[in-house]
Symmetry: C3
Subunit: 306 residues, 3 copies
Amino acid sequence: MDIVSTLGLTNFVMQFSRISMYPFFDMAHYTLSIMKLKEQPGAVDVAHRSPIACWFSGMLCCFGGAILASVLLGEPPIEPFTNNRNIILASVIWYLIFYCPYDKFYKCCNFLPSKLFIAGMKEVTRARKIVGGVMDAHSRYRNGWLAVIAVGWAKGAGSGLIANFEQLVRGVWIPERNELLKMSYGTKVTLIGAVLFTFQQMNYLPITRHNLIFLYTMFVVSTEGKNWRHSALLPLVQLLKKVKISKGGGQRRLSKILTKNRRIHKVIFLLDFCSIESLWMRFEIEKPFCSTNNSKSIVIYKIKCT
Amino acid sequence: MDIVSTLGLTNFVMQFSRISMYPFFDMAHYTLSIMKLKEQPGAVDVAHRSPIACWFSGMLCCFGGAILASVLLGEPPIEPFTNNRNIILASVIWYLIFYCPYDKFYKCCNFLPSKLFIAGMKEVTRARKIVGGVMDAHSRYRNGWLAVIAVGWAKGAGSGLIANFEQLVRGVWIPERNELLKMSYGTKVTLIGAVLFTFQQMNYLPITRHNLIFLYTMFVVSTEGKNWRHSALLPLVQLLKKVKISKGGGQRRLSKILTKNRRIHKVIFLLDFCSIESLWMRFEIEKPFCSTNNSKSIVIYKIKCT
Amino acid sequence: MDIVSTLGLTNFVMQFSRISMYPFFDMAHYTLSIMKLKEQPGAVDVAHRSPIACWFSGMLCCFGGAILASVLLGEPPIEPFTNNRNIILASVIWYLIFYCPYDKFYKCCNFLPSKLFIAGMKEVTRARKIVGGVMDAHSRYRNGWLAVIAVGWAKGAGSGLIANFEQLVRGVWIPERNELLKMSYGTKVTLIGAVLFTFQQMNYLPITRHNLIFLYTMFVVSTEGKNWRHSALLPLVQLLKKVKISKGGGQRRLSKILTKNRRIHKVIFLLDFCSIESLWMRFEIEKPFCSTNNSKSIVIYKIKCT
């Protein structure tokens, strides 16, 4: 790739592709995965009722990719659990996030700047995992490019793809929702990455692996800007979080808040712009809203859609 | 087997058992599997919302047997996906069936004579798959006849056996229905085939493999006559399809149609005779019907039962 | 371990650890597993509707541990089915328990003294299975103690851990209940055993394997006294079993019985003391009880809790 060499980044890129994931990047990955788990409805309750189920669920979130890739390649799915170092690290983080007094650790990590930093670091691990999966599968199936893509994808986005079974461990079962039916941003970007790295591995792309890792990582980290957009809405989200919707009463309250807000059109635009899935899940709204005022009903309809 | 040699079919049978499945017979199998998928309630909707989930679901229908057999034998379940040739063929057929303009391809294949022809061809692949599974398992487990039968069965009827998980990909979850609880005709006949081929492989049956493949295939293709019986009822089925049953109102309409029909006893007989499961599923009737007139209630009860 | 040698039990312990499980201890394990299956709501119905689903469900109960351990170690999950001897033994017991005329076999085994004897014998197999799993995993993963514990646990308590999927075979799906969320006594004791045997295998415990097997088995068999406690309550359980709770009417009847009972505080204590989960499941009470009298509501609340 000429861009990299013309920018004089060749050495940097080489070093970047050799940087060890172990203590810090892996830590960021575990932290974010387990924070996401904690935000699931009912997860904290499970943590108190059955720590073992919660721990296993957390490990599935952290090592889901490795486990799924092992299953696909017919290797022991228990293999990720033989890596004591990483398991202990993930377990410590799991413990801190769920049981730290006053929830300090979670709050620190959830503080916006630190969360964005962690999210950026986590994305660095994604490219590595995809490459690991692609190379592993390619060494077995020279020409099975579809299998190679699948394994790369599974390794990079496995925890999302096995989410149904991870939820089952916690006693939750939502069959109508899965990552194949409605892909999250991470799953999509991992699929693109798996395709790119597979083509690179099969020499269809005129770029070295180091450069592709670097460029892909840069792309993914920068598009994490989704989070930035989300974070710009954080005050609104905080506002909405306070609304307890129950028995139809909340409906009026939500619309009241939206009416009070002078910049309602901006809100519509912003809600449309950002992905508010996490917000949505927290409300657990089941019936579609419909308020009498048409302009408001548009807003609410948009919340429902995303 | 004397029948074959006395009929002078020895050469034909040898050639038959060596005929390549690849382009045409496999094509028939993929076409029928994906047509069956398309007829599932909600499948077309999934095809438009999430092509990837639909494609994966289609591949599970086409290669379910190979995947399940791989899992049972501890081989990589991704292996069927390394056969690019077959995957591409299946994907092209999946694309044509779901997205062909004006639904032409599906309609052509669903036209009764062509559907019966395809169904016959598909059944030819069944024997081959069972034999493949049986030989594969027998080469590993010399004396484990149960495991050999299981792998042969899984390879021949795998897509049915994993139907619960195939549905899960599409966001559908029907735990109370599975192929073990209520076997379809295909699953039953495959089980019989797996037992026969296992006994042949272990030299308990005085027949060569070629002859057994030929005779079993003939048997299965001819008993596909179930479809013939079904097809004789097609006009009635078309009539019933027009009935939209909703909120109890349809009940009256259905009975009206059945009352108008002078040959009502024949209808009862025919409904009893043919398997109208697919029809049943399309209606998605949940409550049992009961009309005031007793003779009609019998009809409706019979619909419910099958 | 000094206790064993000072008691002069060294020879006995050696012989004990070499005793063959095959005909009798395995038989006890299969009998108890399939009896437990038969007591599940709906299992008898499945046995009559679909013997194959019931048989497969029974085999999952008997060989669940071996199957789960095989899956975890990346070995063919069909391997337990290649052991014809054990499969035939388990199938015969399955047949007798489900289809014996007048239910004689089940009633004999369910007779309290014989059930306790069988339960004791079954527990002897537990230690062996854990050791088998631990040694198998340890030979592959020298340092992966977590994986070794997991495989030992899976092999010893597998049928419980895969209960969700065993239920799925019978068309039952209860995602909110699993062995990780709420461990049964057997699962807990197996986990402790897996930890102990792993540490012994890694030479962290100053005890030989034979002695540990002996002591662990003694411990498990004696703590099966839970069953004894349960059995002491059998008359009460029989009494409660007669109560048919339906449409709120049973509520009054249950409280009437409890009121009639003079030793009501003793009942409260006993209900609290014994695990009456099986009783609970048999009632299939869904709504929480609340009677007007506070003292009774405590009783009922306690029933609900356990």
